[in-house]
Amino acid sequence: MAGRKTARLIPRSSGLLIALAVLLAFIVPASAYAGEEPPFYVSVEALPERTDVAAGEEIRVGLRFRMVEGWHIYWKNAGDSGEPPKMDWHVPAGTVIGSVSWPVPSLYIIGPLTNFGYEGDIILTRTMTMPDDLPSDAPSDFHVAIDVLVCADICIPEKHSASFTLNDGTNTDHSAALDAAVATLPARDVAAQARYNISGDDFILDIEFHEYPNDLGNIELYDFDMLPVDWGVTENSASTRVFTRPAEVASSGLLFAKKRDNRDPASIGDLEILLRYQAAGQDAKAFYVTAVLDPALEASPALSADDVADLLPDGVGGIVSSPVNMTLMTALVFALLGGVILNLMPCVFPVLSMKALKLCKMNDQSEARARLHGLAYMAGILLSFAVLAGALIVLQIAGAQAGWGFQLQNPVIVLFLTYLLFLIGLNLAGFFEIGGGGIANLGGNLAGRDGLGGSFFTGVLATIVATPCTAPFMGAAMGFAMTQPPAVTMTVFLALGLGLALPYLALAFVPPLRAALPKPGPWMEKFKQFLAFPMLAAAAWLLWVYSLQTSDIALFYAVIGLVLTAFAIWVFRHSPHGRKARLIVRVLVALALAGMIYVMIHESRMAAPVSRTAESAGAYEWTDFSNASYEASIAGDRPVFVNMTAAWCITCKANERVAIDVDRTRSLFRALDVHYIKGDWTNQNPSITAYLKRYGRNGVPIYVYYGARDPATGERPDAVMLPQLLTPGIVAAALEGGE
């Protein structure tokens, strides 16, 4: 269409073009109705489901509206201004025309005004029932005249027409486009009873679900908008607040409140209301309810948004053991247990080894000093966890999608950890010493006697290297923590830290446990050197993570940087004796190092934020997780297995090696025709974070199995969330149980 080309320029918002558009707005009414063709911002096309239709048959007919970028048209209730398109059909006598099915509208906020409508490409569908005398062997014409108001910051009324002909021998088929349009329409079949009332300044709506809508799972995920189809009921710009019903009233109900507008809803009677809900980064969904006036309905004064999590009905969304129902006590116990187990996770192993060394030395030390070490170690861990929790809380308040292990999504931090572990490895191997005391005394020079500072530092280090691991129990506790007020989040994190510190604390405070350790001796030096290797292995693993997050060239710089670092240490140890020469050599080395660090950070920043997958292909066929791929496979009939992983998540890798990427599971997947979806959280990915949140988690791994759709009922069984440590048996039990 000729108009599209001109109009596409408008959103560029140059002053001249805006002025032109304004001029057009002025001229259009005068000219448009005189039959002229001004530039159009909308094009309209009629899409009959098919053109080969029998008399008396019902078909769907769509009108596709395509808007120029930056322009929108309106929903049935347009909001503060705007008008929905008007469609005037001229059809063969006797044709019954159904009402329009409106897609889920978007919100358009213009200063203090809010409108509801559509941009891009939408289809308004309706049904038409053919007259009984529709000739099957002669063409029948259907014609529609359309008045549509299209707006950017200014509005243009446009006139369009569209038509189609049935039974003209063309056999056109638009059913695919109409199917797609109908699939995303607001649901009208929600089994619920809805009542409304005015309460103070609010319009309130109470919905009691006979059957809780499946995809409404965790309501906290969504921004809700309560949109009455009638104008003037609610303040269009006001936000919608949502509450669950008090537990003693009913199991499955939601209460919505929004500032009322100036119209008395009682004068309208029953209200058709659209509940629109949208999770971050996803398409909006919606359902309709028809609400009756109930003058006795009251907003529950006891409810606040914070209470919502506690009041969620059991089994919402069909999730087994929804962790959101967890009490604070359970969460604390889980966090503590998770922390203890964290000591045994592969990523903590090198640090655990260092502590083992220290424990041996502690045999020689006095009771009091041992306790002090234990406390210093605990203090280091708790402080680190407090900092971590604080950062997470701040990020969440700021609205960012962050979760456990989020710090490893930043390649600069991964690189820093690599270097840290590499240096510790070199130190353990005896390549260099700090302050004469080795790694156990690292920081001791600063913090005073007895290497207490060293213990503190070890605690900090233990936390840092523990972050990529998610121990069993921990995931649920962390997920719970992140949905709570900051104070509770902090408490759960500290419980986790305490768990991590606990084994060492026990040794520090219970002498008989210490006595069970081997006696110190010359073997300790060899053991220390041996421990360099798990440490270097951990560094190598982090380097691999880094390479996935960045580029080959960044990896090359990082490795050269490691060599240069080792070289720098060597130079410092064996500098020339002349003072001047020594200074020159050291400055040169320091400059080279600084340059290297600059280049590496620059490379890390340059890295494309695209997640490269952490797996080599071949063993399995899987689909990368995206909202679209997920929704599509859930909508299908096949069973679906979702695995969320990350390169830096050792637990994830271990599970895949032990329980998923094995023959038994592979053949089971094949036998059940499982659709395997894998999400890679190595770098930030908001839709994965949102998925995790839906299941009350904020870290990987998570494994969810959705059983095949029952052909008889058309329903899927409840989704099964698998534990965070897998065996082939656990996977088999989940899959077979789900059949």
């Binding site: 304004v22 707005a25 002025f26 259009v28 009414p29 005068a30 109705y33 503060d80 201004s81 705007g82 008008e83 008007k86 906020i109 213009i110 200063g111 203090p112 005004l113 409108n115 008045d147 108001l149 707006c151 910051d153 200014i154 509005c155 243009i156 009324p157 300044d201 104008w231 003037g232 303040e235 710009s237 006001a238 936000s239 500032k259 100036n262 119209r263 990020l395 700021a398 609205g399 960012a400 999608q401 962050a402 930030q684 908001p686």
Partner: protein
Amino acid sequence: MFKTLKKTMMTFLAAGLLAVPAMAGAQAAAVGEAAPDFTLTDTHGNEHSLSDFAGQVVVLEWFNHECPFVVKFYDSGKMQELQRSAAEDGIVWLTVVSSAPGTQGYTSADEANEIIANWESAEAARLLDPEGTAGRLYDARTTPHMYIIDTEGTLVYNGAIDSIASANQDDIEKADNYVVNALEALAAGAPIEPNQTRPYGCSVKYN
């Protein structure tokens, strides 16, 4: 992450800005209650307050000369006709322009006078509201958006000018004109029905 952060902060900021007019709307003009007073300057530099017209019926018309829905009523001569007939009945017709500077419909006083002359419009005064103060006070949403205030200073009508929401001049004669209905009912001492409708037109271009 910083992008998200920035976006969030902007949202907060926007929410904060929006909260003010929304709250103002709470005490704003409600049918059956006292119409809130305002003071604005007209195109000749004279100040007018609503309270100056106590004892008279007042019509408020929100206006934007570039809006197709406004043009519909002036191009056809309908609005001028209503303004003249109102003036004959001793009714005060005030046209309000709440377009912010730089937005559609904003005019300087001189430009406004030129438009008044060219369009032969006949309001008692064209009031300039570039800050949108009166517009927000009345929660004016569209151009045109009509309000009627009775001799007691009570708001008795709030809404559209007529019953057919279109920019098509042909619809003017087919539609029920709510303003004419309301003024007739007011003169006859009869209840105004409807006294509240959904206004239609272009959105008011607030800053």
